[in-house]
C-alpha cells in the first residue's frame, strides 16, 4: 500500500519550473539558498548543513524531514541565527526573508526579526518555559518588547493568545507557573507565546516529538487552524512521516547535511525518487500488510566528522548495490558498511550528485534516477498548497460558511 496524504485532491499546483521564464505570482517569504554551516571541533571542521536550498511561500507549510543528526535542526536554528557563533559559522549561502538577507543583519536588527517576523517553537515543552516566571509574564515580555504596548494591554493580548490556543480559563491560568501545567498545555503556551506577535513565519522544530500521540494530533490540529486564520507560513522540522503527510504542503528530505529530495507532499509520497526516501517509506509500519519484521535502512547516519565520499548515501543505498551487480567489475568498488561488505557503483562512491529537477516540481539528488543527467540544477521552489479537506460529521449538511473557512471540525 502506498502511503497517501490525507488530502483528496490537488487543486492548486503551480510549480515553477524556472523562475526566469515564468514569474511567480508571489515571491517566497523565506528563501534559503546554498546555505552551508560549519562547526569547528577539535577533530577539524564539520559541516552539518551543506548547500541547502529551499523556499517557503506565504501561507505554506514546508516540512524538512530526516533522521536525527541529518542537519535539519541546525538549518532551522541558522535561519534565526541561533547557532552559537564560535564554534558554529556560516560558510556560505543566503537566507532571504522577504528579500532581506538575515545573515548580514546586525544583531540588533536580528532581534527585531526574531519573535516578530519569525517565531520558533521547540521540541521540549517541558524545558522551554522559564520555571521561575508565570506563563503570563513570559508571554507579556515578548509582546511588550515587539509591540510596544502597555503592560495592561499586553496582558489582554496574552490572554487572547492563550484563548486562541485553546487554554480554558486563560484569565486564571495566565498566572500559573510552568510546573503547574502538562506537557501539551506547555506546548500550547509556547505556541501562544510564539504567535502573540503575529509572525509571518513559524519555525516548529519537532513540535510534537515530546508529546504523546493524542496530544500530538491536537497540537498539529491547532497549528493548522492558526495557520489558516492568520495566513502565516510554517517551517516544520520533523522526523515523523505521519506528521509530514498530515500537515505539509511541500517536503524536503534531508540526509547527511543535504536536501536529497524536494517535492510536493503528494508527489513525494506517490513517487519517491531518492532511494533514501524510498527506504524511509518502507520503514513505516503499515496496517494493510502482514510483515514479520519492519524494514529498515541498513547502517546508520554517517558522522558529520567523516562523511562518505561521493553520494553520502552510497554505503547504505540498495539501488547502487543492485546496479553494481549488473555492470562490469571495473565500474564497481567494494564498500564496508555496518559490518558487511558489498559492491557499489564507482560513480556513486566518487561523484556527489547535486539536487536536480528530475520531474515536474520534483527535485532529487541521485545519479541513478533515470532522468538525472538531463535534468537542470535549479533552486527548489514550489508554490504548492494542499487541498483543504473539510470533515463532515454524520452526513449533516455543513453550514455554507464551514466549508470555506477550511477548518476541520
Amino acid at each position: 500500500m502506498r502511503w497517501t496524504p490525507s488530502c483528496a485532491s490537488v487543486t492548486e499546483l503551480t510549480a515553477t519550473r524556472d523562475n526566469r521564464t515564468m514569474p511567480t505570482p508571489s515571491q517566497p517569504l523565506l528563501e534559503v539558498s546554498n546555505l552551508t554551516i560549519g562547526f569547528d571541533t577539535n577533530r577539524g571542521e564539520i559541516r552539518p548543513v551543506n548547500d541547502v536550498s529551499f523556499s517557503v511561500f506565504p501561507g505554506q507549510t514546508v516540512a524538512i524531514v530526516g533522521e536525527s543528526g541529518c542537519g535539519k535542526s541546525v538549518t532551522a536554528m541558522s535561519i534565526l541565527r541561533l547557532i552559537p557563533s564560535p564554534p558554529g559559522k556560516v560558510i556560505g549561502g543566503r537566507v532571504l526573508m522577504e528579500g532581506r538577507d538575515l545573515l548580514t543583519l546586525s544583531e540588533r536588527e536580528m532581534r527585531g526579526v526574531r519573535g516578530k517576523e519569525i517565531a520558533m517553537i521547540f521540541q521540549e515543552p517541558m524545558t522551554s518555559l522559564n520555571p521561575v516566571y508565570s506563563i503570563g509574564d513570559q508571554i507579556v515580555e515578548a509582546i511588550t518588547l515587539h509591540q510596544g504596548v502597555s503592560s495592561r494591554e499586553a496582558y489582554r493580548i496574552a490572554e487572547e493568545a492563550l484563548h486562541d490556543v485553546g487554554i480554558a480559563d486563560p484569565r486564571r491560568r495566565i498566572h500559573e507557573y510552568p510546573h503547574q501545567m502538562s506537557g501539551g498545555m506547555r506546548q500550547r503556551v509556547m505556541i501562544a507565546m510564539a504567535l502573540s506577535c503575529r509572525p509571518k513565519l513559524l519555525i516548529a522544530d519537532e513540535p510534537t516529538t515530546a508529546l504523546d500521540v493524542t496530544i500530538q494530533a491536537q497540537i498539529l490540529e491547532l497549528l493548522r487552524k492558526l495557520q489558516k486564520e492568520r495566513g502565516m507560513s510554517i517551517l516544520l522540522i520533523t522526523h515523523d512521516l505521519g506528521v509530514v503527510a498530515e500537515n505539509a504542503d511541500v517536503v524536503g528530505v534531508m540526509y547527511a547535511s543535504r536536501i536529497v529530495e524536494f517535492a510536493t507532499v503528494e508527489d513525494l509520497f506517490d513517487r519517491p525518487q531518492h532511494p533514501y526516501t524510498e527506504g524511509l517509506f518502507r520503514s513505516v509500519p503499515k496496517l494493510s500488510t502482514d510483515e514479520g519484521r519492519l524494514a529498515t535502512i541498513a547502517g546508520t547516519v554517517p558522522n558529520p566528522a567523516k562523511f562518505p565520499t561521493g553520494c553520502k548515501f552510497h554505503p547504505r543505498c540498495p539501488r547502487t548495490r543492485d546496479a553494481a551487480a549488473r555492470v562490469a567489475p571495473a565500474d564497481v568498488v567494494e564498500v564496508r558498511s555496518a559490518g558487511e561488505q558489498f559492491n557499489v557503483l564507482k560513480t556513486c562512491a566518487t561523484r556527489e550528485p547535486e539536487l536536480r529537477e528530475v520531474g515536474p516540481s520534483h527535485w532529487a539528488s541521485c545519479l541513478l534516477v533515470e532522468s538525472f543527467e538531463r535534468s537542470p540544477v535549479t533552486t527548489p521552489r514550489l508554490r504548492h498548497r494542499r487541498a483543504v479537506e473539510p470533515v463532515v460529521i454524520d452526513g449533516a449538511a455543513p453550514p455554507p460558511g464551514a466549508l470555506t473557512t477550511g477548518m476541520t471540525l
Binding site: 564560535p86 526574531r114 520555571p131 518588547l145
Partner: protein, 418 residues
C-alpha cells in the same frame, strides 16, 4: 545595613518578590477569587521552614539578630529610668549611639514592610524613603551622645544614696564597663551578678558576647555580600561569553585561589595601622569571591544551552533581559545556598583574626573574647573559653543548618512532586 539583611533572612525570606505579582493578579481579577499561585520561591521557603534543622538554626539566628538590634536594651550600665534628686531621667536613651539608632530604625522598617503585605511597592518605597530622609537625621539631631562615658558614676551615686529609684536593663553592665571601682572584678566565675562571669578587664562577659554579635553578623553579611557581587559578575561574564573571557576569568580565579587567605589577611592587617572593621570585611570579601564565580560560571554554561534561554533568544529578547531575567534568576537560588555557607565561613575567619589579635582594639568580638581565655598566659579560664566559643560554634552551625535546608528545598531531585 547588615542587620537589615539578617532580619530579612530571618523573618521574611521573600519580602519583596510577591508584591508586584500579587498586585497584578488583583488588578486583573477585579476582585474575584484569586488562585494561590504556588510560586517556586514560596514553596522553597515553606520547605525550608518546615525542616527541623533549619528551624533550630533560624531560631538561634533570630536570637543573635535580636541581640544585635536590641543590644543596648539588653545589656547596659546606663539605667533605663533614673530618679535622682527628685527628677526622672533616662541615661540609656541619652547614651544611644548613631549605629544603635540606625539599627533600630532599619529593624522596624523591615518589620513593618514584612508584616504589611498590603503595601504596594510604591508605598514600601515611600516608607523606606521616609525613614531615611526624615527619621534618621532627626534621631541624629536629637541624640547627642556624650563622648566621655563614666559608668562608675551610677554606682557611686547609689552608694551615696542620691538615687531614689533606678531601672536597669536585664544585664546592668555595658561591654566596656570595666568595673574599675570594684575590687577584684577580673576573671570572676559565673555568679548572679555576672551571669557568665567577667573577662580579663573586669567587664561582664555576657554583655560583651551580646554586643559582639553585631560585629559577627555584619562581617558575615557584608563580606559575603562583596564576595557574591564580584563572584556573580565575573562568573556570569565567563559563563555567558565563554571563549576568551572564560579563559581569562578562570586564570584570574586560579591566581586568587593560589593566595592563602589567612596569610593575606595577616599581611594586610599588619601593614595597615588603623584597624577597621570595614577593611576586614573588604579583605574577606575580596578573597572569597572565587567560589561563587566558579559556581555561577558552571550554572550559566548549562543555562545558556537550556531551551527556555534559547526560546528567549528566539523571541528576540535583548541580551540584558536574557542575562538578568532568564539566566541570573535561575542561577541565583543555588547561589543563595552557597551564600549561607559563605556567611558562616566569614564569621569564622573574623573570629580567627580577632582571636589572633588582628581585629579591633577597642571593641570586643567573639574571637577576641575567646583570646582572653588565655588570661595573659596564666592558664585557661574555662568560662571565657566556653561561652564565646559556643556563640561562634552555634552561629556557624546555625548557618550551615539553614544552608543545608535551603539546598534540600531547592534541589528538585529531593523535592516531592506536587
Amino acid at each position: 545595613m547588615s542587620i537589615e539583611a539578617a532580619e530579612a533572612l530571618d523573618r521574611a525570606p521573600d519580602p519583596a518578590a510577591p508584591h508586584s505579582r500579587r498586585e497584578r493578579t488583583e488588578r486583573l481579577d477585579d476582585g474575584d477569587r484569586e488562585p494561590p499561585p504556588r510560586n517556586f520561591l514560596r514553596q522553597a521557603v515553606l520547605d525550608t521552614v518546615t525542616s527541623r534543622g533549619a528551624r533550630a538554626g533560624l531560631t538561634w539566628l533570630a536570637i543573635v539578630a535580636a541581640w544585635a538590634v536590641f543590644a543596648p536594651f539588653i545589656a547596659n550600665s546606663h539605667p533605663i529610668l533614673l530618679k535622682m534628686n527628685g527628677t526622672w531621667s533616662s541615661p540609656l536613651w541619652r547614651y544611644l549611639t548613631g549605629s544603635d539608632i540606625i539599627l533600630l530604625i532599619t529593624f522596624f522598617t523591615v518589620t513593618i514592610l514584612a508584616a504589611g503585605r498590603w503595601f504596594s511597592p510604591l508605598a514600601s518605597l515611600g516608607i523606606i524613603a521616609g525613614m531615611l530622609v526624615v527619621v534618621v537625621p532627626l534621631c541624629m539631631l536629637v541624640t547627642r551622645t556624650p563622648t566621655n562615658v563614666v559608668y562608675e558614676q551610677y554606682r557611686e551615686w547609689a552608694a551615696e544614696g542620691k538615687v531614689q529609684k533606678a531601672w536597669y536593663a536585664p544585664i546592668p553592665y555595658s561591654p566596656n564597663d570595666r568595673l574599675r571601682d570594684v575590687r577584684d572584678a577580673r576573671l570572676k566565675p559565673p555568679s548572679r551578678q555576672h551571669w557568665l562571669g567577667t573577662d580579663t578587664n573586669g567587664a561582664d562577659l555576657f554583655s560583651n558576647i551580646i554586643h559582639a554579635s553585631r560585629i559577627a553578623l555584619s562581617v558575615g553579611f557584608i563580606s559575603t555580600g562583596i564576595a557574591v557581587v564580584i563572584g556573580v559578575f565575573v562568573g556570569g561574564l565567563m559563563g555567558y561569553f565563554v571563549g576568551a573571557v572564560d579563559l581569562f576569568g578562570m586564570r584570574l580565579i586560579e591566581i586568587f585561589e593560589a593566595i592563602p587567605r589567612l596569610l593575606l589577611l595577616f599581611t594586610v592587617t599588619a601593614f595597615i595601622q588603623e584597624r577597621s572593621i570595614y577593611l576586614l570585611m573588604t579583605v574577606i570579601g575580596l578573597t572569597g569571591w572565587t567560589g561563587y564565580a566558579r559556581f555561577l560560571r558552571g550554572e550559566f554554561l548549562t543555562l545558556r544551552k537550556l531551551d527556555f534561554v534559547q526560546a528567549a533568544v528566539a523571541a528576540g529578547l535583548p541580551r540584558r533581559l536574557i542575562l538578568f531575567r532568564h539566566m541570573l534568576i535561575n542561577a541565583l537560588t543555588p547561589i543563595l545556598v552557597n551564600t549561607t555557607f559563605g556567611v558562616a565561613s566569614a564569621i569564622l575567619v573574623e573570629s580567627i583574626l580577632t582571636f589572633l589579635g588582628l581585629g579591633l582594639v577597642n571593641e570586643s568580638s567573639w574571637g577576641s573574647l575567646l583570646n582572653q581565655a588565655r588570661a595573659g598566659g596564666a592558664g585557661v579560664v574555662l568560662t571565657i573559653a566556653i561561652f564565646p566559643g559556643l556563640a561562634i560554634f552555634l552561629t556557624v552551625f546555625a548557618y550551615n543548618l539553614v544552608g543545608e535546608a535551603v539546598r534540600d528545598a531547592l534541589d528538585p531531585k529531593l523535592r516531592k512532586r506536587d
